[in-house]
């Protein structure tokens, strides 16, 4: 099954967003001072960088072109809400994003037309993310947020969840308009 333009765009979107997440977490891992937090942030950075590498390799293996210009989900969040450097926002954003990414990959894997190589890669990433959810690094963002003022955390959660919902709808509509599904697609 040859790779479709739609699938290659989606894989580039996933790849660029994973890389963006890694770079952001890496920047955080250069700014924080708490050692335990630095361990978690560095590991988080490495995990997302590895996912970006896996997605890069699968795009190449499918004969596709890696397009670094495909806007990431984080860029779309910032377009709606502005750029933030506040720790509470960066941590909440990371948490909202983790949930979104896992749900998006799972939904994508439910499609029948996913190329085998892409399916294998995404399934491996999902498995790793599920293991992380229960592993020794699970909950590190929640723990970090507990040390911050509760009202600020709750306000950030409300704000970024609203932004997330709007961005997801926007991306969904954009992909469907740009790459219409064949009528035979169920």
């Amino acid at each position: 099954m040859p790779a479709t333009d739609r699938e290659l765009w989606v894989l580039n979107f996933f790849r660029n967003s994973e890389l963006h997440g890694a770079l952001l977490m890496g920047r955080l891992a250069r700014s924080l001072s708490d050692t335990a937090l630095l361990v978690h942030a560095t590991r988080h950075c490495a995990t997302e960088a590895r996912h970006a590498a896996m997605l890069s390799e699968v795009i190449e293996s499918m004969g596709g072109r890696i397009d670094p210009k495909v806007a990431t989900i984080q860029e779309r969040y910032s377009t709606k809400e502005g750029v933030t450097t506040a720790l509470v926002d960066l941590l909440v954003l990371s948490e909202v994003l983790e949930t979104r990414v896992l749900a998006t990959y799972r939904t994508y894997l439910e499609r029948r037309d996913v190329a085998p190589a892409a399916r294998e890669t995404l399934a491996a990433i999902v498995s790793e993310m599920e293991r992380e959810e229960t592993g020794e690094h699970a909950g590190w963002i929640d723990e970090a947020l507990e040390a911050l003022p509760r009202d600020a955390v709750e306000a950030a959660e409300r704000r970024w969840r609203e932004v997330d919902a709007a961005v997801v709808k926007e991306v969904h509509d954009m992909v469907n308009a740009r790459f219409p599904e064949p009528e035979t697609q169920s």
Binding site: L23, L24, R27, Q74, E75, S78, G82, V83, T85
Partner: protein, 85 residues
């Protein structure tokens, strides 16, 4: 351009990996292709460079290079006034 402005531009240049010559004060950050990641890198770099905290609410409203210079100037001035007895 003042030495202060040049220091801000130098940090922006490093963060966005763009030559200083293209970072005119009136240029919009988005027109220069400076995305959120580069803006975050720049803001944190400026906080280190000038030993100030740039208020998040104002960071979110940044549009141009001049906005960035003005924001850092205001933060440095506020730090100076706080340091006064």
């Amino acid at each position: 351009m003042s030495r202060f402005d040049s220091r801000v531009i130098a940090v922006l240049s490093r963060s966005a990996m763009l030559p200083e010559s293209v970072l005119g004060p009136d240029k919009k950050l988005t027109d220069l292709g400076i995305g959120s990641l580069e803006q975050i890198e720049c803001v944190l770099g400026l906080e280190d460079e000038f030993q100030v905290e740039l208020p998040d609410a104002q960071v979110r409203r940044l549009k141009t290079v001049q906005d960035l210079i003005d924001l850092v100037k205001a933060a440095v001035a506020a730090r100076g006034s706080r340091a006064d007895p």
